[in-house]
Amino acid sequence: MGKRTIVPFGPQHPALPEPVHLDLELEDETVVRAIPSIGYVHRGLEKLAEKRDYNDMIYVMERVCGICSFGHGWGYAGAVEGLMGVRIPDRAECLRVMFHELSRVHSHLLWLGLLADGLGFDSLFMHCWRIREKVLDVFEAITGGRVIMSFCKVGGVRKDLTPEMLKMVKDTCDMIEDEMRKTALVFMKDSSVRNRLCGTGVLTKEDVIDLCAVGPVARGSGVNNDVRTTSEMYRSLGFEPILYDEGDCWSRCMVRVDEIMQSLDIIRNAIANLPEGDVSVPVKGNAPVGDFMFRVEQPRGEAFYYVQGNGTKNLSRARVRTPTNINIPAMTKMLQGCNLQDVSMLVITIDPCISCTER
């Protein structure tokens, strides 16, 4: 048994682009314990809900995170709509599903790129990001923003899509599917990737349930807590939760690869079955006294939104709980017993977004 050493890791670390600090307790090269520490970039966006009209607040909420900006907009809008008792048109709901799945495609492609970068396969990283760029171009053409889309609003979505735009989305989906079939093969079969991913950072089903993990981290260990399962819109568009049982880095990677493929199918189904009608309903008046919670399955996992109205135009509380927040405990469990060189890669496999976590 070797001597225990504590190695500080982050918040500024060349291998990890997130402001998270880990105190790694090492025995020789093996991590025995990891204590996470966040709080370097706390912004207090939630507090602005007390000063902002609930309609304006969505532009603040979208800026919680750059990658899942659409999901945050939807989550907040959904919570306020629930509080106000507004039912949005089916077309708006379907468009939201479509854009959310497009966000999932680009987020997972970004993650696959980061993973490839983390395990030292840099040309694969560039290819993943090249494919991702096409999704961002679609976003810019339709919503006007590449990253912050400002497409969702309380009561629906802001703009309707023209038939040409729908065709553009469909063509992009076909293109990405074609590219992904080739790229996914590298993640699935390439020996250098598999050697690095298979069997590292194993999280058993019991660990996941005990540590309340969500998203691809949970689904990679065979636990389904995908909130899309309960959504009628998603079920009608052919959604099935994707589960892998191994619980290692490779199965978490495969969950995301398969989700990209499934999301592309959902988007195409959504285009084919897009209901006619308005894309938004006006939402006016004061928010009633009451509470409402809403959950959205973001690319990284389940995000929780809670709003509390107090009878004025402002909300007394808007709470966002991002998926990374709840996956941090699972990450510390994953790090126990791993090799020091794998730490940055294991942290990446939960798809951390620390700035989201601290809002």
Binding site: S37, G44, G78, G82, T230, F292, F304, R317, I326, E358
Partner: protein, 124 residues
Amino acid sequence: MTENTQTFETATPEEVPAIAERLKGEGYRMVQICGVTKTGCTEVLYSFDRDFSVRNFKVDVPFGTPVKSITPWYWAAFVYENEVHDLFDVEFTDSRLDYKGNFFRMSRKTPWKGKEAEETKEGA
């Protein structure tokens, strides 16, 4: 994503550990803990999920009253408990992982804590 199955219940600070123990036994997953700024107290909201239906417990914690931590049952709760402690000044006792106010690095201590209750008490 439609969200029809949610309930809001109220509880007292003393009941919190018993609720956590019971729900853990029934197979609930902890979703989150958050604080809400109130006058004279902090409302702490505990959310638990099983089979996609969520039970929320609202706990009014008066200033200065400690709450027992639920980390013995849900270890992952340390993230939220430290967050609520740093932002709202609610003390959690018997925590399995306590950062003692060093979880968030902020320029001001407990920025989201509500106002003291004296004024409203006299008015009411």
